[in-house]
């Protein structure tokens, strides 16, 4: 249980290559923070700097108000789960978990008790005498987890811990990790490139790109109020669809013109868009915000290209102006490739971005969405 503060943190690998350009972040007590971003965005470098495995080029790291920027990893009061588990193959499971406790000269019976406790928590209580080579990937993952939990760290770091597991196990471990976090209440930082993992586990998500923070916010924030086009296009399966439209305003109507459709909006509800008269405006629509409507009431019609059943829902892809657009329809809707469908948008859930800065244009009506 601790607070972590990163102030102006940066890491330069060589003259021109920056791992992390600038990072300011405050992590509250008991919080579960997820660093999310595509590969090479600096999220792992950030975590390694917090762990002390990477030297800091600029800035400071403070844990509980104490500057830990330059102290060795073992004195930081942190623990870490590695992507490849990094459990020591020449030690038994027990020795792996007890390693740090032994180095702290904890009495033998206390060590035994603590190891058993943590091993039970991650359900490997009966594997303590095995060597890591005799364990499956999922069990090795649990050993790494137990080893990190046993030290009762102030700060718990996880570097893509689930990415080496198979898809099914990953979902199970995700739930268990969250349950463990609720039980231990340790301040946690979790690095991943899997946005669904991030959405399902995080208290707050830190989205990074090219060594900089793009957005910090709750899963709802980043999904419903994505800060820019990058976030909107990164979060969500499938991600948001973008339409670069021509905005014109006449009378009380704002009309957004695209090759296949012209969307008319009332200027009262969307008055923030008024300043984009005769400019390009990016309209973003999440896949579930398309509405299937009868053709005569539709904003536009299109031919279905592909249908991808997902069990709980179906993903329908069609072609608009030579780009693939994906929407989600309920499982019971009968659609097949080649069908002509009528489409409309859920007007309350539209996102708008400035086409030059790619930043979000915040709307008043967003606050109404919170109520839903």
């Amino acid at each position: 249980m601790a607070t972590l503060e990163l102030v102006d943190l940066a890491k330069r690998f060589s003259k021109k290559v920056w791992g992390v350009k600038k990072m300011d972040l405050e992590v509250n007590e008991k919080e579960f923070i997820v660093l999310l971003g595509p590969s090479g965005c600096g999220k792992t470098t950030t975590m390694r700097m917090i762990a002390g495995l990477e030297e800091v080029t600029r800035g400071t790291i403070q844990l509980d108000g104490k500057d830990i920027t330059d102290i060795p990893p073992r004195d930081r009061g942190i623990s870490m789960v590695f992507q490849n588990y990094a459990i020591w193959p020449h030690m038994t499971v027990f020795e792996n978990i007890a390693f740090s406790l032994k180095l702290k000269r904890m009495p033998g019976n206390e060590i035994k008790q603590r190891v058993q406790e943590t091993a039970d928590m991650v359900k490997i209580g009966d594997l303590l005498k095995r060597l890591p080579g005799q364990l499956s990937g999922g069990q090795q993952q649990r050993v790494a987890l137990a080893r990190a939990l046993a030290v009762k760290p102030k700060l718990f770091l996880m570097d893509e811990p689930l990415s080496n597991l198979d898809a099914k196990l990953r979902v199970i471990m995700r739930t268990e990790l969250k349950a463990i976090h609720q039980q231990t209440e340790a301040t946690s930082i979790f690095v991943t490139h899997d946005q669904s993992e991030a959405m399902s586990m995080a208290d707050r998500i830190v989205i990074m790109k090219d060594g900089e923070i793009v957005q910090i916010g709750s899963p709802d924030d980043v999904y419903f109020r994505s800060a820019n086009m990058f976030v909107a296009g990164f979060i969500g399966t499938p991600p948001a669809n973008f339409f670069i439209t021509q905005c014109t305003i006449n009378n009380s109507k704002i009309s957004l013109k695209y090759s296949d459709f012209t969307l008319e909006l009332s200027s009262e509800e969307f008055e923030e868009l008024k300043e984009y008269n005769n400019k390009n405006l990016v309209l973003a629509v999440r896949p579930e915000d398309f509405l299937l409507v009868p053709k005569d009431k539709a904003l536009f019609t299109n031919k279905i290209l592909v249908v991808e059943p997902q069990g709980s829902h179906q993903v329908v892809a069609f072609n608009v102006n030579d780009t693939i657009v994906k929407m989600i329809v309920p499982a019971e809707t009968k659609v097949k490739p080649g069908d002509i469908i009528g489409l409309n948008f859920n007007l309350k859930r539209l996102h708008f971005f400035n086409s030059e800065t790619e930043n979000r244009i915040p709307l008043k009506s967003e606050f109404l969405n919170d109520a839903n």
């Binding site: 495995l53 073992r74 990094a86």
Partner: protein, 319 residues
Amino acid sequence: MSDYETYSEWPKPLVPSFKASFIIDKDIEGYHLSIFNKSENDFMPFGPLSFQDNENDIDKLQEFIKRQSNCKISTRKIIDYLRVVDNKSMVQFSLNKDLLANYILFFQVVNGAPKAVLNSLMVALTTIAISLTIGGMGGYAFARYFFKGKSILKLSVLFVRMFPAVSLAIPMVIILARMGLYDQPLGLSLVYSVGQISLSIWITASVFMSIPVSLEEAAMIFGTSKVGAFWHVTLPLALPGLAACAMYSFIGSWNEVISAVVLTQFNPTFPVVVYKALVGSQGQINLITAGSAAQALPAIIFTLIIRKYIIQMWGGVKV
């Protein structure tokens, strides 16, 4: 192979025999001993033309049998056989050869052989110690750190192995003599280390490279310093590979003759002694082979012990 077989049989048998057959018979001059000769396929006279049934003759005969055919027989047994001959006019018997006789003889006969083995061991162990410490550290650096000119440096450490020992013999003698290490095991092991260090660097580098850095990082997070991480995690995992590397150094210095011939005089190493024995005793093939086998044996045993780990030398550490 016994002395008798060495001198009297041709062609030499491909597979050595473990037994020799004898006949003792009797005429007016006394008893006669014959031995079976495989190339003649017949019994041939062996030892004195004739001997009598007295203590002196029988002792001499026993010694002769031991020396020439590597077979041991007690005087008691010889007297027993003579009694049988008295009754039946002849007796045939066969004796087991003493398999270690040649080896024992080699170390007894060849000047300074036991001391040479000690010298060789000392040289080999010092070489291992030097090459593994320096080479191991070098290998770790090559495996873990990035620096300018790394690949060129790594390649260039092999240059010292480029020159044949003979071409460097005279400078080596002069330098070692100036250092006061000529004709000393330490001097020799220094010379061997030069070549072995570069090989050790390559072997240990690949051993260390096969151990993921994250294992060390995990150790550092869970309470050790950088040195401690090496001690607790990397070293135990690298140990088999390092042992295999030590084996290479051992065999390299244990077998080396050319430098050793040049750089030693009164304190030769074992291969030098075997080599000199080979040159000096042209007929004694049984002793030379015994010496050579004794020379090969430690290397073979060492390799057998370590064979499981040889594969790890080239980066097969299981994690």
